[in-house]
């Protein structure tokens, strides 16, 4: 573990002593400050893209998971097939297909943002469906039976008894998916989305300082994801104390 940390530190230090050019992103100089602002200006899109996509994928995932739990065969098969097919397509391929391919079928062209959202959401929904299925299956039969015994129908049983418990259990997994989504949103840069990675790429082209600029990019994702992880952990703790304290 220590050796792993040592290696990049050595690299950075050796770079500093020779020909690193931190000036490109030095906030003390006007040029460096501008560049830094340019890099950070992608943050809003990265967050919006990931947040919108995760909201949609959670809903789609749930809608795919529910028939997967049916007692009947056909809904189960349909759900299974969706998961298998969507999971088999690489995200990058899906992004290209949605952006360049889908408009040819539907006739309406998608903005880069929405093409990105749809591709990310679609891809993630297969994983969300699996997470929901496992979460819902982990709730004991007795919970359904008690809900039915007080006359709740299937819908109310799911909304007020099963899902609230299942969501508490799958929250760590949902948190992982959100982190995953933030990272995968970098792929939307290939169709020109002006998010973090795209900004970095553009600056590298004009400044020709890939090492420094991509290092800043790494740090941007790192900080963003550490903040999100902390947020998810806080939410988990809160929901737990709801039940126990």
């Amino acid at each position: 573990m220590r050796a792993l940390l040592l290696l990049p530190s050595l690299l950075l230090l050796s770079g500093c002593s020779s020909n690193w050019g931190w000036y490109v992103v030095n906030p003390a100089t006007p040029k460096g400050w501008l560049n830094l602002k340019f890099l950070l200006s992608g943050l809003g899109y990265t967050v919006q893209l990931s947040a919108t996509a995760i909201c949609i994928s959670v809903v789609v995932g749930l809608l795919v998971a529910l028939p997967g739990l049916s007692a009947r065969k056909w809904p189960r098969r349909l759900s299974r097939t969706y998961v298998e097919v969507v999971r088999a397509v690489p995200i990058l391929v899906l992004i290209l297909w949605v952006y360049y391919g889908l408009p040819q079928i539907t006739g309406l062209s998608l903005s880069v943002f929405w093409a990105g959202v749809i591709a990310l959401a679609l891809s993630d929904s297969a994983f969300q469906a699996e997470i929901f299925r496992a979460g819902i299956q982990s709730i004991a039969r007795g919970q359904y039976e008690a809900a039915y015994s007080v006359s709740l129908n299937y819908r109310d049983t799911m909304s007020y008894v099963i899902l609230p418990q299942a969501i508490r259990r799958i929250l760590p997994a949902l948190g992982n998916q959100l982190v995953y989504m933030l990272k995968m949103s970098s792929l939307v840069s290939v169709i020109g989305m002006q998010e973090l990675t795209r900004k970095a790429n553009e600056l590298v082209v004009s400044e020709y300082r890939p090492l420094e600029i991509y290092t800043v990019l790494v740090l941007e994702y790192l900080v963003l994801i550490l903040i999100v992880s902390a947020g998810v952990r806080w939410l988990e703790r809160r929901l737990k104390t709801d039940e126990r304290a």
Binding site: Q143, S149, V150, Q165, D242
Partner: protein
């Protein structure tokens, strides 16, 4: 007419799990206001029998009516509106407070206004002597308290029939009596009750009729005084020997 017609009637009811027959042609009726205690060895089909009454299990053959309504997929809402059930494992909703456990059914299934549902819930909590725990979560309560909450939750739906499936089997011995006391109190209100239990003291005191099941059949049914003093079948004698002398 409804005064004398049985509120629960099994006629030749059978049920299979694959090739295994759990219920073998059950003929059995419960009168309005009657208290029936069902006992028998583990695996004899007691749970299956009472779970059919509120449609948690589907029957394979024969007919089953509750308050004159045949129990089918279509009639489940009507049937369940009349039947409350208390489980061995309590099955309280762990993410809801005691009070919210009680009001969920009345609010969502019966469309009762929240304020009225809460008022009614508090009355039932008082009746099971646990009103001071209304804002706690189930896991903060002892087993006996949880089971009393579960009873109150069923009563909030104002059922005509209460089913109990071994309500004290998961409890520590010192908590059994507080639950049985609540059930005895309920019996005094004239509630129709079908209770699966091996608490024979309770059965003697409360039951109008005993039912003994074995291998998916009702082997014997008799008033408690006859049942305990002069069981007719050998299977029933063996069973009573085992549970009364241990």
């Amino acid at each position: 007419m409804t005064e004398t017609a049985p509120i629960i009637r099994f006629e030749g009811v059978s049920k299979h799990y694959d090739s295994f027959q759990v219920l073998k042609g059950i003929d059995f009726a419960v009168a309005r206001g009657e208290r029936v205690v069902v006992c028998g060895p583990s695996g004899s089909g007691k749970s299956t029998l009472i779970r059919c009454i509120n449609g948690l299990e589907t029957i394979g053959g024969g007919t089953l009516t509750v308050d004159g309504i045949p129990v089918t997929e279509k009639t489940l809402p009507k049937v369940r509106a009349r039947v409350g059930m208390v489980f061995q494992q309590f099955n309280l909703f762990p993410h809801l407070t005691v009070l919210d456990n009680l009001t969920l059914g009345p609010i969502r299934a019966r469309g009762m206004p929240r304020a009225r549902a809460r008022e009614a819930a508090m009355r039932y909590l008082e009746r099971v002597r646990i009103a001071e725990q209304a804002d706690k979560f189930p896991r903060q309560l002892s087993g006996g308290q949880q089971q009393r909450v579960a009873i109150a939750r069923s009563l909030c739906m104002e059922p005509e029939i209460m089913l109990f499936d071994e309500p004290t089997s998961a409890l520590d011995p010192e908590m059994i009596s507080e639950v049985l006391d609540v059930m005895t109190g309920l019996a005094q209100t004239g509630m129709t009750m079908v209770v699966v239990t091996h608490e024979m003291g309770f059965a003697r005191k409360v039951a109008d009729r005993m039912v003994f099941m074995d291998h998916g059949e009702i082997v014997e049914t008799a008033p408690p005084e006859d049942f305990f003093t002069a069981p007719r079948s050998q299977r029933c004698r063996d069973f009573l020997d085992k549970i009364l002398n241990h």
